[in-house]
């Protein structure tokens, strides 16, 4: 059964140094507020899992919190490279970063297998692709009926997954809608699932029965953080702050400027500051 907690406590209770953690979000609903809280609490030695590590993992890597990254596309979506991640991989700054790199199909299947309680996923993938040469966690399985050789990857089973969702009801059931991405799988694949939401509503009685809902007993903790996905977006609440993504490319290009920005915009701030950041992006429909 889930608990409603302030974000600082939800993060402190559920994340530990050395954990394998996923802050998931596929462009939409990225749990920025949760990631910033983890940065403020200064965790170390994390294995960061995500299909599309973007600004928040660039920030955590730049702050020296990550030992390893497991991912399939490490870019600033639509803008370019992740400069702090590059600095870690190319120059070992602030320290070396181990990487385990996959394709999207592999990661999606690995999360799905994790949610399904399986040790591995099989799929038709990596044919002719060189990742299979450099990543020892890409193996193969032979179909016992046709003899076809299929790719196999270990399932993703994070110690804890953080996601952002549109809303919870008072019982603690959680709704994700719009581009639902990999959130359900990431939450169900993890030992613990922490969800930040835009708001809490009385009940879900009017929801269509086939939407993506996580029942309260499948969620460890919920924190209400309006705007908590910024500069990503929450469908139905506020739009993507594309300008911030463009700006990040400059901030992250310089080590000092990065540290200053983090100090001013993350370390000295709280989860409560997110609501103000999305004010100009809110729906006027």
């Amino acid at each position: 059964m889930t608990k409603f907690l302030p974000l600082s406590k939800a993060v402190a209770d559920n994340l530990n140094n050395g954990d394998t953690v996923a802050f998931e979000g596929f462009t939409h609903l990225i749990p920025t507020a949760a990631a910033h809280e983890a940065i403020r609490q200064g965790f170390k030695d994390l294995t960061l899992v995500r299909m599309t590590p973007d600004l928040i993992y660039d920030q955590m890597i730049g702050m020296g919190m990550a030992r390893k990254a497991i991912f399939s596309y490490a870019g600033n979506p639509g803008v370019g490279l992740l400069r702090r991640l590059r600095d870690a991989v190319e120059n070992g700054f602030p320290h070396a970063l181990e990487i385990e790199e996959h394709s999207h199909a592999a990661m999606a299947n690995a999360y799905e297998a994790g949610a399904a309680g399986l040790p591995c996923a099989i799929f038709r993938g990596y044919r002719g692709a060189e990742l299979a040469r450099v990543n020892p966690n890409i193996k193969s399985v032979t179909c016992p009926f046709t003899g076809e050789v299929l790719a196999a990857v270990p399932s993703v089973r994070p110690d804890v997954t953080f996601i952002h969702a549109q809303k919870a009801n008072k019982r603690g059931d959680v709704l994700v809608e719009g581009i639902i991405g990999i959130q359900k799988e990431a939450a169900l694949a993890a030992k613990r699932a922490v969800v930040t939401v835009e708001e809490v509503v009385d009940n879900f009685d009017d929801l269509h029965p086939n939407l993506t809902v996580l029942p309260n007993w499948s969620v460890t903790a919920i924190s209400v953080v309006p705007g908590g996905a910024h500069p990503s977006y929450a469908h139905g609440y506020y739009i993507r702050d594309n300008a911030s993504y463009l700006e990040w490319d400059e901030i992250a290009a310089d080590r000092d400027r990065f540290r200053e920005w983090m100090q001013k915009n993350v370390i000295e701030k709280t989860a409560d500051d997110f609501a103000g950041r999305v004010e100009h992006l809110r729906n006027v429909a």
Binding site: F26, T27, H28, M51, S72, Y73, A74, G75, P77, G78, V79, L81, L85, R86, V89, E90, E101, S103, H104, A105, A108, N109, Y111, E112, F123, R124, G125, Y126, R127, G128, A129, E130, L131, V134, E148, Q166, E177, G178, I179, I180, G181, I182, D202, D205, D206, H208, T212, Y233, H235, G236, I239, R240, D241, N242, A243, Y245, L246, H280, N283, A285
Partner: protein, 269 residues
């Protein structure tokens, strides 16, 4: 803008858009592919199905998404599915007719690198990586590639095989058990290329207006083959140009933060 009244980049996007048909189901990469697919949809192929890997199927955005997961894609889609479903049922299930990819590095057999420049373990430049490309390249029925020409981008030997094109050429795909066609079209800012039927080496079949053979060779890192009969790509029509420019203008405005309303959430409180 050249004296022709359009830029090479505009020509590239429009030439690419013309290759798409109304009954195509396109898995759309971001950037140039996205622009080309949407120009096709807004001109001669209104029924084309555009799919972005974020899970939006049959989307019809009014502005180009900055990312593959902008809200506009979901707002206008026939349906939006989870990412595992996208890669399992729709891509791996064999339902994509055209996978449309860009490239950081490309070789003459249509192999693509978007992973690293230099050695994988100690890269000179760490690029974003493959994302959906490794499986798009082998599960789509065919692959179109679009990129602006440069010696840095079009190279004799790519540093890393992010996604497989025709490998070493010839029947290399077949030898790996891959039964899809692979790259069948390359559209650059200077020319249209198609693979040789036997060797699978990309061969220039059409030069864009005002482009010379020398110019194509100067901006390409391998020795370029030209078809015996070389076409000239028809100039953009007024409709094509206007459509592309309007789309870009709407897109630029939106990405600078002029809010487009966030529509169509759930109906409850």
């Amino acid at each position: 803008m050249s004296e022709l009244g359009f830029t090479p980049n505009e020509m590239m996007t429009i030439a690419a858009s013309r290759a798409l048909k109304g009954d195509d189901v396109c898995f759309v990469g971001i950037g140039a592919p996205s622009a080309a697919c949407n120009v096709a949809r807004l001109t001669h192929a209104p029924d084309i199905t555009l799919i972005y890997e974020s899970g939006t199927i049959g989307t019809a955005p009014d502005v180009l998404p900055l990312s593959i997961g902008d809200g506009e894609l979901c707002d206008t889609a026939v349906t939006t599915v989870s990412v595992p479903e996208m890669f399992r049922y729709w891509l791996q299930g064999g339902r994509i007719s055209i996978g449309f990819l860009g490239a950081a590095q490309l070789d003459k057999f249509g192999n693509i690198n978007t992973t690293v420049i230099g050695d994988y373990a100690h890269p000179k430049t760490r690029l974003p990586g493959g994302g959906g490309a490794p499986e798009i390249a082998t599960s789509s029925k065919e692959i179109y590639i679009t990129m602006a020409q440069s010696k840095r981008g079009m190279v004799e030997k790519i540093d890393f095989y992010t996604s497989f094109g025709h490998g070493d050429g010839g029947d290399h795909r077949k030898r790996l058990g891959i039964d899809t066609k692979g790259p069948t079209l390359l559209i650059t800012d200077l020319a249209i290329w198609k693979p040789d039927p036997v060797t699978k080496e990309f061969t220039v079949v059409s030069l864009h207006p005002g482009v010379t053979r020398d110019k194509v060779q100067e901006t390409c890192g391998w020795t370029v083959k030209f078809a015996d009969t070389l076409e000239e790509t028809p100039v953009p029509t007024q409709l094509e140009l206007q459509t592309l420019r309007d789309l870009k203008a709407r897109t630029d405005a939106a990405h600078k933060g002029e809010a487009v309303s966030a529509k169509r959430g759930s109906k409850d409180g």
